[in-house]
């Protein structure tokens, strides 16, 4: 069981950098993904634009479980997506490997009438190709219920 996260703990998360990771868009995974998300046909070799997200989250250098633990939560607590922003700078390619860098950019505690106490944690991830060009930027926020906060 995770130790309850105090407001100070939460605010100290802002600025924490994730380990640098990498992500390869494997052909078979791309096929399965585009099938699962009902993608329309794409030009040969071009990755679905959602790989700006999938590569960012998949290659961010820590797992979602580790991210949830970092903010004092776990998958069993039912964390939910809040907002997501994608910036597409370069077309991503199937078969390419991308470096992923970034970290936590925001954290706030809120109280809702129905939801009770919950935390919103935001993080930015940059997806960088082999030439050093940022191909995409993915900014996301998760909502963490704090039933015991």
């Amino acid at each position: 069981m995770n130790r309850p996260m105090t407001l100070d703990d939460l605010e100290r998360l802002v600025g924490v950098e994730f380990p640098v990771g990498e992500f390869t868009i494997e052909g078979y995974e791309h096929w399965l993904t585009t099938d699962a998300i009902d993608s329309p046909p794409l030009p040969a070799g071009v990755a679905h634009p959602m790989y700006a997200y999938y590569a960012a989250l998949g290659g961010m250098g820590l797992t979602l479980d580790e991210l949830f633990a970092m903010v004092g939560s776990s998958a069993a607590d039912g964390p939910m997506f809040g907002e997501a922003a994608l910036e597409f700078r370069e077309a991503m390619r199937v078969g390419e490997t991308y470096r992923v860098e970034g970290g936590i950019t925001g954290a706030a505690r809120k109280t809702g009438k129905r939801a009770g106490v919950f935390d919103i944690v935001s993080f930015e991830l940059r997806v960088v190709d082999s030439s050093g060009t940022v191909a995409a930027v993915s900014t996301n926020s998760f909502i963490f219920p704090r039933r015991t906060a």
């Binding site: 995974e29 399965l32 993904t33 099938d35 699962a36 998300i37 009902d38 993608s39 329309p40 794409l42 030009p43 071009v46 679905h48 634009p49 959602m50 997200y53 999938y54 989250l57 998949g58 797992t63 979602l64 479980d65 998958a75 069993a76 039912g78 964390p79 939910m80 997506f81 809040g82 907002e83 997501a84 922003a85 994608l86 910036e87 597409f88 077309a91």
Partner: protein
């Protein structure tokens, strides 16, 4: 195709959101959140009796709409969404959008759009905005942003 403020984007429809696809995406994304595959957890969390679609997949339906409209994924420049409600296995959903302005960025004509994903007979699951570069022949004229 001529594009100006008020142009409606062709709807992208998913007839039935598939629980099996959620399992595939959970594995591909290494997403351990059991609300996407374990009905017991969904029930224990008071979230109903159907598994919950991954938020990024809901976002992907909107991207699919933009790809189908633009004709080239490279013309999609940005997308920002807020997740408003859940999509569940068995739901029928529509991704839609409308152009709010068209303006030049020096090299291209850029369409700013409002976008959304609606559950048929249900609620709006997400809403946001998108930026799409147009082919030169598509822009019907620059319009001020609302």
């Amino acid at each position: 195709m001529r594009v100006s403020a008020g142009t409606e984007l062709p709807v992208f429809e998913v007839d039935e959101v598939r629980a099996a696809a959620m399992k595939t995406m959970a594995v591909l994304l290494r997403d351990p959140n059991p609300i996407h595959f374990d009905l017991d957890v969904v029930a224990a969390l008071g979230m109903g009796d159907r598994v919950i679609n991954q938020g990024p997949t809901n976002m992907a339906y909107v991207v699919n709409m933009l790809v189908a409209w633009a004709g080239d994924p490279a013309r999609i420049r940005a997308l920002k969404v807020r997740f408003l409600d859940n999509v569940r296995a068995g739901d029928r959903v529509f991704a839609g959008g409308i152009v709010t302005s068209v303006a030049g960025d020096g090299r291209h004509q850029i369409a700013e759009c409002d976008v959304w994903l609606d559950v048929v007979g249900g609620t709006r699951a997400l809403a946001g905005s998108a930026t799409v570069a147009l082919k030169g022949s598509e822009a019907a004229g620059e319009t001020p942003a609302k």
